[in-house]
C-alpha cells in the first residue's frame, strides 16, 4: 500500500486547542482514499530526517514550550526553507507559525529567533485576540477559532493566506490572516482548521501525492458533515 508520512513538529510542547485534530483529518482523508499514513514526531534534541516525509504539521503551545522548541527548530531552518521552495506541503498553526517567521518578541522583550520560512515578525501584546474567525482565501471560506496575543506583521512581498471577514487575524488592525509560501501555509486558525475546511486539507494532501506519486486528482469524498459544521461555526460570533 502507498504510504504518506506526516511529520508532527514537537507534539509534546506544541499541541494545544485541538491541533491534533489536523493530524486526525489528514490521516482519515488519506485512509479513506486508500493510502496508509505514518505519523512521525519531531522531538527536541533528537535529529529528525525531513527528507523522508511528505507533509509537515506543527501547532500552537504554551510560551514555555515555545522557548524550548525555538532553539531546536533553528537546526532545521535551511532544510525547511529549501523544502518549502520545493513545494513540500506544510501547515503551521499559531505558535509554530510564529516560529516559522523571522522572529517572535515575547512579553519580557525576549527575542526568539525564527527560521524565515515566512517573512513575518510577531510581537507579543497585552490584548488577547480570542474568538471565532472567518476568512476568505484562495481555498474559499475558512473558519476557525483564534487565540493569540502575538501581533504579526507581514514583511515585503509576503502574501497572506486570506482576508479577515470576521475576527482579528494576523493583528488587530490590518484584517489579513496567515502567510503562504508555495504549499507551506501558516495561520492562527485553531478549531482545528482542517476538519471543518476540507478544501484546505485536500490541497495539502494533493500536493503531497503529486510530489510522491505524480497523482493529479483526488478521489471525491462526501463532505456534507464537514460543511455543515463549518456553516454553524461561521455563525458563532
Amino acid at each position: 500500500m502507498n504510504t504518506i508520512i506526516i511529520a508532527h513538529l514537537y507534539p509534546r510542547e506544541m499541541n494545544i486547542y485541538g491541533d491534533l485534530g489536523n493530524i486526525i483529518a489528514l490521516t482519515r482523508r488519506l485512509e479513506w482514499r486508500g493510502y496508509a499514513v505514518e505519523v512521525r514526531s519531531v522531538e527536541v534534541g533528537k535529529f529528525f530526517d525531513f527528507s523522508k516525509v511528505d507533509i509537515i504539521f506543527g501547532g500552537g503551545g504554551q510560551d514555555s514550550g515555545q522557548l524550548i522548541v525555538g532553539t531546536d527548530l533553528l537546526i532545521y531552518g535551511e532544510v525547511l526553507r529549501n523544502l518549502a521552495d520545493s513545494g513540500m506541503p506544510m501547515l503551521l498553526i499559531c505558535g509554530l507559525y510564529q516560529l516559522f517567521g523571522n522572529k517572535f518578541v515575547t512579553n519580557n522583550n525576549q527575542i526568539i529567533k525564527g527560521i524565515d520560512v515566512f517573512n513575518i515578525t510577531t510581537i507579543a501584546s497585552d490584548t488577547r485576540m480570542i474568538g471565532n474567525i472567518v476568512i476568505e482565501s484562495s481555498f474559499g471560506r475558512l473558519v476557525g477559532f483564534e487565540n493569540h496575543s502575538g501581533q504579526t506583521q507581514l514583511g515585503v512581498n509576503q502574501l497572506p493566506l486570506g482576508k479577515v471577514k470576521h475576527g482579528f487575524g494576523n493583528n488587530s488592525t490590518r484584517k489579513h490572516e496567515g502567510a503562504v509560501r508555495n504549499n507551506a501555509i501558516g495561520c492562527y486558525l485553531h478549531g482545528p482548521v482542517l476538519p471543518k475546511n476540507p478544501k484546505l486539507a485536500d490541497a495539502l494532501i494533493l500536493a503531497a501525492l503529486k510530489r510522491k506519486y505524480g497523482i493529479a486528482e483526488l478521489l471525491k469524498l462526501d463532505d456534507s458533515i464537514e460543511l455543515r459544521a463549518a456553516d454553524v461555526a461561521s455563525t458563532r460570533s
Partner: protein
C-alpha cells in the same frame, strides 16, 4: 455605618435581581460590595469562629466541597458554603452577604468555598483561610486563563498571602510543586494514590497537560500513570519528585458505575471507605476530603460515615428515572473530564445509547476545539448509538465521524431527548453527557417528563 449601608444596598439588589429573574441573585451583591466596601468580605468572614476552607483546582471542586461539607456538618459545624456557579470572588462575597443579617452577623461556624483557580489569590487575600485544597490542574478553557504554568503561579500567590494549611494532590506534579508557596513547610499536606490499576505509561500524542519538571522543565519520568498526567513521577535530574502523601489510597476493592470501595492509609493506619461515586477522579476528591476532615480533627470513624453516605453533586453523576428507563447524567467540561467519563462509564459497554450535548456559551467555553483532544476513538469498537445535540451538535458529529463513529445531529434539545428515550430498551439505561449550560437546559427538559431534584445555582 458604611457596612450596614452596603449590606442594605446589596441585599436589596439581590432581592430585585431574584424577582426580575435576571441572575438568580447570584453575583450582583458581591459585585456591588466589591465597589462599595472592599473590606466587607474580610470583616464578615472574620466572624467564622472555626475559620475558612477554600477548595480549588480544574476538576472536582463541587464534589469535594460537597464531601467536606458533609463531614463538617456531621461534626456539628454550621457550614456556610457557595454554589458551584458562583465561585468567582463576587460569588463568594455574595454568599457571605446572603448569610449575614443587617448588623453583619453570620450564623455559621465555618466557611467552605469552592473557588475558581484564577480567583483564588483574591479570595485567599480577602478571607485569610485556615485551609486551602488544590485538587488538580488540567487544561480548561485556556481562552480564559492563558497557560497552566501561569495559573499555577497565581494559585501560588494566593497561598503565599496566607498562613493556611495546604492540601495538595501529590500525584499532579504542578500541584505538588505549590508546596513552595506555603508559609512554613509543616503546613503542607499531601493526598495521593499508591495502588490503583495503573494505565500503561502509554505515550500517545493526546495532550499531556503538564509532564515537565516544575523546577528544571525537563520531561518527568513516570513509573505509573493513573490518568492524564496524574501518577508517580520523578525528575531525571533529581530536581523534583512525588512527595509521600499522609493520606493515600492503598487499593480499590470494588468499583462499579455507582460506587467505589477503597482502602486508605491515614498516617500509616488503614481504613475502608465506600464512596458513593464512580471513577478514579472521584477517588482523588474523596482523598482530599478525608485529608481535610482529618486535619480538622474529625474522628476517622465519622469521616467514614460521611464519605459512605454522601451523594454526587448535581449533574456530576445524576441518576434520573423516566418510566422504566434510567438516565445517567454526566457533566463534561474539558478534555480530562470527558475522557474520565468515557473511560469510567462507556469504554467497556456495548451498544450504549448516548446523548451528547455541546454548547459554546461563555460558561461552556466559546472554543469547542477541545472535543478534538478527547480520545473518542476508544468508543469505536463498542458500536455506540450516539445522538449529538446542542448549539455545536454538528461539531461533535464531525468529531465522531473522524473517530470512526456514526451519529445523528438533532440540535433541538427536546427532540434529541425524545429520540434518546425511544432508543433505550425498556428496563435499560441511557447516558446524557452535557456541557455546563447544556446540563441546565437538559435538566429543565427532563423536569417536564419526571421529577428532577431542583438544582441550586
Amino acid at each position: 455605618m458604611r457596612q450596614t449601608l452596603t449590606l442594605i444596598i446589596t441585599k436589596v439588589a439581590a432581592g430585585a435581581s431574584r424577582i426580575s429573574r435576571r441572575g438568580g441573585g447570584g453575583a450582583l451583591p458581591g459585585l456591588l460590595a466589591e465597589k462599595l466596601d472592599p473590606k466587607l468580605a474580610s470583616r464578615l468572614s472574620a466572624q467564622l469562629s472555626h475559620g475558612v476552607i477554600l477548595v480549588t483546582g480544574t476538576n472536582g471542586k463541587t464534589t469535594t466541597t460537597k464531601l467536606i461539607a458533609a463531614e463538617l456538618e456531621a461534626h456539628g459545624e454550621r457550614v456556610l458554603t457557595n454554589r458551584s456557579g458562583s465561585n468567582l470572588r463576587r460569588g463568594v462575597i455574595s454568599s457571605l452577604i446572603d448569610a449575614s443579617n443587617l448588623s453583619g452577623e453570620i450564623d455559621a461556624t465555618i466557611g467552605l468555598f469552592e473557588v475558581d483557580e484564577a480567583w483564588l489569590r483574591f479570595v485567599a487575600a480577602d478571607l485569610q483561610p485556615d485551609k486551602i485544597v488544590v485538587l488538580n490542574l488540567f487544561r480548561d478553557q485556556l481562552d480564559r486563563y492563558g497557560e497552566l504554568d501561569t495559573l499555577a503561579g497565581l494559585i501560588g500567590d494566593g497561598i503565599a498571602s496566607t498562613k493556611a494549611k495546604i492540601y495538595l494532590n501529590a500525584d499532579d506534579p504542578l500541584v505538588a510543586s505549590l508546596s513552595k508557596y506555603a508559609a512554613r513547610s509543616d503546613l503542607v499536606n499531601y493526598f495521593g494514590v499508591e495502588g490503583l490499576p495503573a494505565k500503561s505509561t502509554r505515550r500517545q500524542v493526546t495532550p499531556v497537560d503538564s509532564d515537565r519538571c516544575p523546577v528544571c522543565k525537563t520531561e518527568l519520568v513516570f513509573s505509573r500513570i493513573f490518568y492524564s498526567h496524574i501518577g508517580h513521577y520523578s525528575c531525571p535530574n533529581g530536581d523534583f519528585s512525588r512527595p509521600q502523601p499522609e493520606v493515600s489510597l492503598t487499593h480499590v476493592n470494588e468499583s462499579s458505575d455507582e460506587s467505589s470501595d477503597f482502602t486508605a492509609a491515614i498516617t500509616g493506619k488503614r481504613y475502608d471507605f465506600q464512596l458513593q461515586l464512580p471513577g478514579s477522579y472521584n477517588l482523588y476528591n474523596a482523598l482530599a476530603a478525608i485529608a481535610v476532615g482529618y486535619g480538622h480533627g474529625i474522628a476517622i470513624a465519622d469521616l467514614q460515615t460521611s464519605i459512605n453516605t454522601t451523594e454526587a453533586a448535581f449533574g456530576r453523576v445524576e441518576r434520573i428515572t423516566i418510566g422504566n428507563k434510567t438516565l445517567l447524567l454526566l457533566l463534561i467540561k474539558n478534555p480530562a473530564g470527558f475522557t474520565q467519563v468515557l473511560e469510567t462509564f462507556l469504554s467497556s459497554k456495548m451498544k450504549a445509547n448516548i446523548l451528547i450535548i455541546i454548547n459554546d456559551n461563555l460558561a461552556d467555553g466559546r472554543d469547542v476545539s477541545w472535543l478534538w483532544d478527547v480520545p473518542l476513538e476508544i468508543l469505536s469498537s463498542t458500536q455506540p448509538n450516539i445522538i449529538s445535540s446542542g448549539i455545536r451538535a454538528t461539531e461533535l458529529t464531525l468529531r465522531l465521524k473522524y473517530a470512526g463513529i456514526d451519529s445523528r445531529s438533532i440540535e433541538d434539545l427536546s427532540s434529541s431527548l425524545n429520540a434518546l428515550l425511544d432508543e433505550i430498551p425498556d428496563g435499560s439505561m441511557g447516558y446524557i453527557l452535557p456541557t455546563y449550560t447544556a446540563m441546565i437546559a437538559i435538566r429543565q427538559e427532563l423536569s417536564k417528563r419526571t421529577d428532577v431534584p431542583k438544582m441550586k445555582l
